[in-house]
Symmetry: C2
Subunit: 144 residues, 2 copies
């Protein structure tokens, strides 16, 4: 599986903004978040842009610009973030249509589709159980 770090980075960014705001700041810049995540500001802006389209964060332009949460950390779940940054399904079908003249080739796609749907439903349920508030709490609970 092409291990994807998008969900991790997005959660990192949200937790960072949330903590920063609790420390009394209005907005966080992509530069600050990128430094914390050890990556490029454009990567952060791209990810946060997807989160903004999903209504999780807001951005301000001009002088004193930056990013702020559109919702409380406790009301944002990992499922919200997952759906905002991960486009496709977890498992894919064949890249080319299997032989429809073969019994297995004909029936395999509907069969797997049904199975995968059930699994993805469970995955979404698990992701929905974790809020960004939970994430930030775990982050701050890390032993020194």
């Amino acid at each position: 599986m092409s291990a994807n770090s998008r969900l991790t980075i997005a959660a990192h960014a949200l937790a960072w903004i949330g903590l920063y705001q609790r420390q009394g700041h209005e907005v966080a810049t992509s530069e600050q978040i990128a430094t914390s995540a050890n990556t490029n500001p454009v990567v952060i802006r791209r990810l946060l842009g997807e989160l903004r389209r999903a209504g999780l964060v807001e951005s301000r332009r001009g002088v004193g610009a930056g990013w702020s949460l559109a919702r409380e950390l406790g009301s944002i779940t990992l499922l919200d973030v997952y759906e905002a940054v991960e486009p496709g399904p977890l498992f894919a079908m064949h890249r080319t249509t299997p032989d429809q003249g073969c019994v297995v080739g004909y029936g395999i796609q509907p069969a797997m589709q049904g199975i995968y749907e059930g699994i993805e439903k469970t995955l979404r349920h698990e992701l929905a159980r974790v809020t960004l508030e939970n994430v930030l709490r775990d982050v701050l609970a890390a032993p020194r």
Copy 2:
């Protein structure tokens, strides 16, 4: 998420071999399976080679060579197949170490690790509930 079709193709191959054997044949060739899956025989041999290392299938060489199941379809679960063909974890951490001087950068990885472990455990549990016997039954149940 880079949607991966390896699990789908592996399940296809196993179901094909299982059905073929129930029709009285000894072994199935990668050529036959590749035709059904509409792909290249080498791709099938690579995948079946991983399943063989996991003890799910056996191969015979020489004239009349081919592949056969090492276990009953009913005793092979999608989890067995998943573990045989999918190497890495579902979600990845940052590609570079986050800023350890930052509270979030320091605590984010253990936090996400713990969350991801729980989710993967649930995923494995779901995959373990489906046997290849179930898959073949669903395949044959596809409406004409």
